[in-house]
Symmetry: C2
Subunit: 107 residues, 2 copies
Amino acid sequence: MKGLNVGEAAAQTGWSPRMLRYLEGAGLVVPDRSRSGYRQYGLLELNQLRSLRALRERFGVELTDVAFAARLDREPALRAAVETWLAGTRLSALDWEQRKHERLLVA
Amino acid sequence: MKGLNVGEAAAQTGWSPRMLRYLEGAGLVVPDRSRSGYRQYGLLELNQLRSLRALRERFGVELTDVAFAARLDREPALRAAVETWLAGTRLSALDWEQRKHERLLVA
DNA sequence: AAGACCTTGACATGCTTGTGGTAAGGTTGG
DNA sequence: CCAACCTTACCACAAGCATGTCAAGGTCTT
């Protein structure tokens, strides 16, 4: 039942121990602790660390972006507000012709 | 059919003209241009600017976060990768008891 | 033609992110 | 008990973000 400690987890995921502590502070990957306070990384956390790395490498995603995605997942009100915003960006991608109505209103 | 120019749009949305130019550079709110190159903000853009402000004020959202949400909306592969990640965070919020299986595997 | 706008481009600045160190001290396993 | 880990707490620092301001020049309205 003992997971890997921070150095072992780092070795297996390609992060530095320093970054693993940083990620915990950022709330992105939070391991359990042993009685004496050592971080204990289990399979779940190792997978999170690996998929986090994949996100950065393959998509150039920042850690703040990932934290934001988690927020979006947890806060329905935020999600709704962002959806409202996105509706606008989708509209502005539409054809010029489809904006006649608006142009009339602003004229 | 002429929209508002940058100073007028700024006055009506609470942004500075400087920030309106910045937002255009960031791809967040991109107005049309008049023949001579002046930015022309229509109803759609004004609404985008207002909802962008609301996102920041009410939710403390950064502009980079909003840009990321737009990316999520446009890139299905990215969305899928983030979904994979999110699955992990949902699991780690689960009850201790529900992780017996994993603990056995790591032991 | 003048004044008030606009354009781009540059420089400055304060804050945050991501990352590395280092120091002082606790834990663990042989 | 000693070496090799771990802990927290700092300091540093490059890069990027969010803003402001200023300069040199174009446009528009009266």
